[in-house]
Amino acid sequence: MALTRRQIFERRQRRRSLTAAALSTAAVVLAVVLLVPLAPGWERVQNSFFDGTVLRTTWPGLLRAFWLDVKIFLWCAPCIVLWGLAIALCRGVRAPALFPLRIFGALYTDVFRGIPVILTIYLIGFGVPGLGLDRPWNSPYIWGSVALVLAYSAYVAEVIRAGIESVHEGQRGAARSLGLSSAQTMRFVVLPQAIRRVVPPLMNDMVSLQKDVALISVIGPIEVLRQAGIDKSKLANFTPYVGAALIFLAVTIPLTRLTDWLLRRQVERRTGSAVQ
């Protein structure tokens, strides 16, 4: 099939921009690869941060420790979304009698977004078991996870609330005029639209949660960052941290790309295809 003049033009444009991008990227990479090793301290930096033998010996331990991060993430993430949704709904209630719920929602997000996650983890992870709970209910795994859920649900609640408020008031009006109750309106009209809109920013929070899971290590569990720290002290070498970073990247980069893709798809659906 013969190409139209427009298609030929577009193909040439595409090729040209591809070449330009490839050339400039190659130039930057080349400059970094050639210039950095010329620095006088490069060999020492290389030995401290990029030691292949150290990476090989510590890698299996790091992977094993990372499995704990994954597990904590997997059981925290659903709890965070559910609890965050509950808080967002609290903040959004309109019935005058339920005003205390609104106050609670606002206070909750203010407090838990305002204090450092690490303090929440210390406070809940050491404080609650200190009240006199017996094993296994004083486990740092449980209370560390609770702390993460409390902290992150505050962020997630704000994202979901923004989603709820982005749904046009007319939608509610239409739903109510059809005879749906206030709760039904929220459940069947507002939330489905709101949640769809906030999936990309929520993914963002999940990427960040994936890294903050490591903070649980301050109350005892040996997860990947702590394992790297232990190996670092043992070997007097920072390479294990680089190993941990590689493991994190292997998870967060695909997650981020997925988020980008979701966002783009959403934009395209709402506004048509992107302009070059």
């Binding site: 301290g41 050491f126 200190g130 709970l133 109350i219 005892g220 043992k234 070997l235 070498n237």
Partner: protein, 300 residues
């Protein structure tokens, strides 16, 4: 900073208690220090005249820059004030400085974390002293002096708990144990005690203490002097339940950390050899550290 205040308030008491306890049996620990220090020397050839050797080997000419922790803990440095020369490591630092030919007022103290001590690039100190155990792995990244103190690992826990009645290493396998990050204690737990529960690791004494108080763990494994300090001062109702007899050649030996290839390493080794030979190192041990025989040894 609540715990710092506690530390300050109690360290005077601890010091008194610790020195009384240590005077009681100074003879036995004297022998131990002397024998171990001489056994590790020899990796780098120790300088015969440390003072002459150190003359042009320091960071700032005419001054000796010594690093300690942020913060430094008792009984190693009392009240987080190394300048006072109080506390075992502070006292040893000044003794080494003296042998290297630096008067007290020529010593500059700086603070570093463990990371700063091993990071590549120019060091901010001549030598760094914060209970660094000497290991071959660490020697690949930094210079380590010969040993200035040899210690066993010990177990600290509540006297009236399940751990409190342990008599042998095998009694400990069912316990939940904790260790401090960056110490060799964790390795010790994994290699020697081999507990059925995964051990926990904390950034510092404070975390381990909180976990012990909330009964998340049954005991903390630490070096013996720190164990004595924790049990006497930091956590009420705890005791050093026992110490572990060293595996063959595996006792924890503390050494100074120096820049890789530092000219000062052999001078410091020379100074340490002299301090060991004339008995002053052993004397500092009895002044500042509790007597090792105060804790029972776990049966194998």
């Amino acid at each position: 900073m609540h715990w710092m205040i506690r530390l300050r308030r109690y360290s005077a008491v601890a010091f008194a208690a610790v020195s009384i306890a240590s005077v009681a049996a100074c003879a036995s620990s004297t022998d131990k220090v002397a024998s171990t220090a001489s056994s590790v020397a020899g990796a780098v050839k120790a300088a015969a005249d440390p003072a002459a050797c150190a003359k042009s080997a320091t960071l700032t000419s005419g001054k000796l820059t010594i690093a300690t922790g942020t913060p430094a803990f008792s009984p190693w440095v009392e009240n987080d004030k190394p300048e006072s020369g109080e506390g075992f490591e502070a006292a040893v630092a000044y003794a080494i400085a003296d042998k290297l030919g630096f008067a007290k007022d020529k010593v500059i103290w700086v603070r570093t974390s463990f990371e700063e001590a091993i990071q590549p690039g120019k060091k901010s100190f001549d030598f760094n002293m914060q209970q660094f155990s000497i290991t071959d792995d660490r020697k690949k990244a930094v210079d380590m002096s010969s040993s200035y103190y040899t210690t066993n690992q010990s177990l600290v826990g509540y006297a009236d708990s399940k751990a409190g009645s342990a008599k042998a290493v095998k009694d400990l396998a069912g316990l939940k144990l904790g260790a401090q990050a960056g110490t060799t204690s964790l390795e010790f737990i994994n290699n020697v005690i081999k507990p059925s529960n995964k051990p926990f690791v904390y950034d510092d004494n404070v975390g381990a203490k909180a976990a012990l108080e909330s009964k998340q763990i049954d005991g903390i494994v630490v070096d013996l002097p720190t164990g004595f300090f924790i049990s006497a001062v930091e956590i009420e109702n705890t005791k050093v339940i026992g110490q572990f007899a060293p595996e063959a050649g595996k006792a924890d030996q503390f050494g100074l950390v120096l820049d890789k290839g530092s000219k000062l390493t052999s001078c410091v080794d020379g100074a340490l050899a002299k301090l060991t030979a004339d008995g002053s190192l052993a004397k500092l041990v009895t002044t500042w550290l509790a007597d090792k025989t105060g804790a029972p040894v776990f049966a194998k």
